[in-house]
């Protein structure tokens, strides 16, 4: 009865002696072996019958004989020890059988020490597990892609916010500029008239002073007293430069407003030929108003260098980089822009000798919302916007920086030809 039972067990049983010779095989093994081996396996070396994993089998059986302790093998590490197929030879899905193996020590009075190999068909579990693993891998991949997409969306959104903000700031600036222009107009006209009136008054005073000795004593005294009481000498010396300075100041205000109007109000969007030299000079003037520390230099070759681009984006990109450069210069220092062009591209370099960028930050500076400024002082969008604008032009931007020494931004924009050569030239005119 037991022999029948062992024979029919749905588990492979193979018993070998200390010479690794097969003493017993149950049906599970026999059914799966080659026909010519089925009759003739007794007393054959198990590694001769199953040579594929001979070395491994020998080692494990030896370990069981030496240690008198079970040895295990798991399908995950060693899936196919015996060259068996899983069931279903007719209906398909026939694959190599995934196997778990356990070898246990036995002993019998006739054979002495024995080792019994139990073999379990775990193909179903293994295929299920493998399918799960693949599914989980696919899910993970999808998840990563989604994360990337979300990141892209985030950055796109933040750039939209920035663009929106720039647009409204631009409109605001243009509106204010317009409003300021009116008073500036009449104030400077009035001031000019005032200057003339002043000159007249001074000349009256001077004449009075020089002719008063000719008058009678009472009048002479009165004139002298009046002139002294109103500090005529000081007034005469101080009034013209005061008025001249005020006129100069007004001219500067007018220039700033004009620059602001031109730079901020990008009415015409789309690709146009931009006069890069003018744009850079305008921008430097604007930045210089707010950041007075550095000396600003522009070196543009050839003069009147033109660039076919989206002027709004490029101006904004340069502005953001230059502002960062200017902010990094705390004591004496410089901010310099070098622009040149060859047959293939336009190269713009922005250099400063300011505080530089910490090496651990350098990878992140183009990330949206990355900022080293104290909370509330920076949104971390400037360089991200610059990066996107340059990317949009198929250009490249790279940065080199040394803490305490300064920073260099290198921009290269591949040359693009306007489709229509009669394109408008956007200049400062």
């Amino acid at each position: 009865m037991f022999e029948q039972l062992v024979g029919k067990l749905p588990v492979g049983i193979c018993v070998v002696n200390e010479q690794y010779e097969v003493v017993f095989l149950n049906d599970f093994f026999v059914d799966r072996m080659d026909a010519n081996l089925r009759k003739d396996y007794q007393d054959k070396n198990v590694t001769d019958i199953f040579p594929a994993q001979a070395k491994f089998l020998r080692r494990r059986i030896k370990s069981v004989f030496v240690l008198q302790h079970p040895s295990f093998s798991y399908w995950e590490q060693r899936p196919h020890i015996f060259p068996f197929n899983s069931s279903r030879p007719i209906t398909g899905e026939e694959t190599q059988m995934f196997q778990n193996m356990e070898i246990v020590p036995l002993s019998s009075s006739t054979h002495g020490k024995l080792a019994c190999i139990f073999l379990q068909d775990v193909t179903a579990q293994a295929s299920y597990y493998i399918a799960q693993q693949e599914l989980s891998k696919a899910l993970k991949r999808e998840h990563e892609e989604q994360l990337k997409l979300i990141k892209k969306l985030d950055s796109a959104q933040s750039q939209l916010i920035q663009a929106e903000k720039m647009a409204s700031t631009g409109q605001l600036a243009a509106g204010i500029a317009h409003e300021i222009n009116n008073p500036i107009g009449f104030v400077s006209a009035n001031l000019d008239t005032l200057r003339q009136y002043g000159e007249h008054l001074i000349s009256i005073g001077e004449k009075l002073a020089s002719h008063s000795p000719d008058a009678d004593t009472t009048t002479h005294k009165l004139i002298q007293q009046l002139l002294e009481a109103h500090h005529f000498d000081l007034l005469r010396e101080d009034m013209p430069p005061l008025i001249a300075e005020s006129c100069e100041g007004l001219t500067r205000v007018r220039d700033i407003v004009e620059n602001l109007k031109r730079f901020a109000l990008e009415e015409s969007s789309g690709w146009q030929l931009l006069n890069l030299e003018d744009a850079i000079n305008q921008m430097l003037e604007l930045v210089a108003i707010q950041y007075k520390n550095p000396v600003y230099k522009a070196q543009i070759e050839p003069k009147g260098l033109k660039l076919f681009c989206e002027p709004g984006g490029i101006k904004q990109a340069l502005m953001n980089i230059v502002i960062n450069a200017a902010q990094s210069v705390t004591g004496e220092g410089f901010v310099k822009i070098i622009a040149k062009q060859d047959d293939t591209a336009t190269y713009i370099k922005v250099l400063d000798n300011g505080s530089g960028i910490d090496a651990r930050h350098i990878k992140k500076i183009f990330d949206p919302f990355f900022t080293t400024k104290p909370e509330g002082l920076g949104q971390g969008l400037g360089l991200s916007v610059a990066y996107t604008a340059i990317e949009k032009h198929n250009g490249r931007i790279s940065v080199n920086s040394k803490l305490g020494k300064g920073t260099v931004f290198d921009i290269s924009l591949p040359l693009q030809q306007p489709e229509d050569s009669d394109e408008l030239v956007v200049t400062s005119a």
């Binding site: 070395k55 080692r59 030896k62 370990s63 030496v66 240690l67 008198q68 302790h69 079970p70 040895s71 295990f72 093998s73 798991y74 995950e76 590490q77 060693r78 778990n100 356990e102």
Partner: protein, 194 residues
């Protein structure tokens, strides 16, 4: 239920001695198989809470972990902590050929755990005349959270460290017994002590 109070000093000494002998046998078996000298530490016997057990096991990031349950007259689990250092030398001794694949590494870890845990358990069982069977080892990575959730308060653990000369390899085997098995164990020890 407190593992410490149920062990008298005599019981502890006896268990320590039994462990010493079985560990020695385990080391001998492995040494015989891989033909190398093996050093063993004095076994430590203590009662631990789940977080303490986690602390015992999770001492280094540079290790692999396996666990293996055993059934029979006494029941419990054996956890092995296998150092990454020197593992390739040991794999060579077990006749794996370099370079080791991931499967080779896993198989080596599982086999080492099985040999040492099995030998320890077999030694202990045979001296106490208890029948035990060790199940298949599996790899696992201990997580503090899952240890905190365990539904026991104290467990008797026996810990021993094996070192292989010639390489920086070391391995710790931690035996944990459940409460019923602990009672069975102390009863058996008491019988031996007479």
């Amino acid at each position: 239920m407190n593992g410490v109070t149920t062990l008298t000093e005599d019981q502890r000494d006896a268990l320590q001695e039994l462990m010493n002998i079985s560990m020695g046998q385990a080391a001998n078996s492995l040494a015989h198989l891989i033909e190398t000298k093996i050093g063993i530490s004095i076994p430590k016997i203590s009662s631990v809470t789940p977080p303490e057990l986690f602390g015992m096991i999770n001492r280094s990031d540079n290790a692999f972990y396996t666990r293996q349950s055993f059934l029979g007259d006494i029941q419990g689990e054996v956890m092995s902590v296998v150092s990454r250092d020197g593992l390739s030398e040991v794999a060579n001794l077990l006749e794996y050929e370099a370079p080791l694949s991931q499967s080779d590494i896993e198989e080596t870890i599982l086999e080492l755990s099985n040999i040492l845990a099995g030998a320890c358990l077999a030694g202990l069982s045979s001296q106490l005349e208890l029948a035990t069977n060790l199940n298949m080892p599996t790899l696992f990575s201990p997580k503090k959270a899952s240890f905190v959730e365990l539904n026991w308060q104290h467990s008797l653990v026996m810990e021993v460290q094996f070192d292989i000369e010639l390489s920086s390899f070391s391995m710790r085997v931690v035996f944990c017994l459940d409460r019923v098995s602990l009672e069975k164990l102390t009863a058996t020890i008491d019988e031996l002590l007479g």
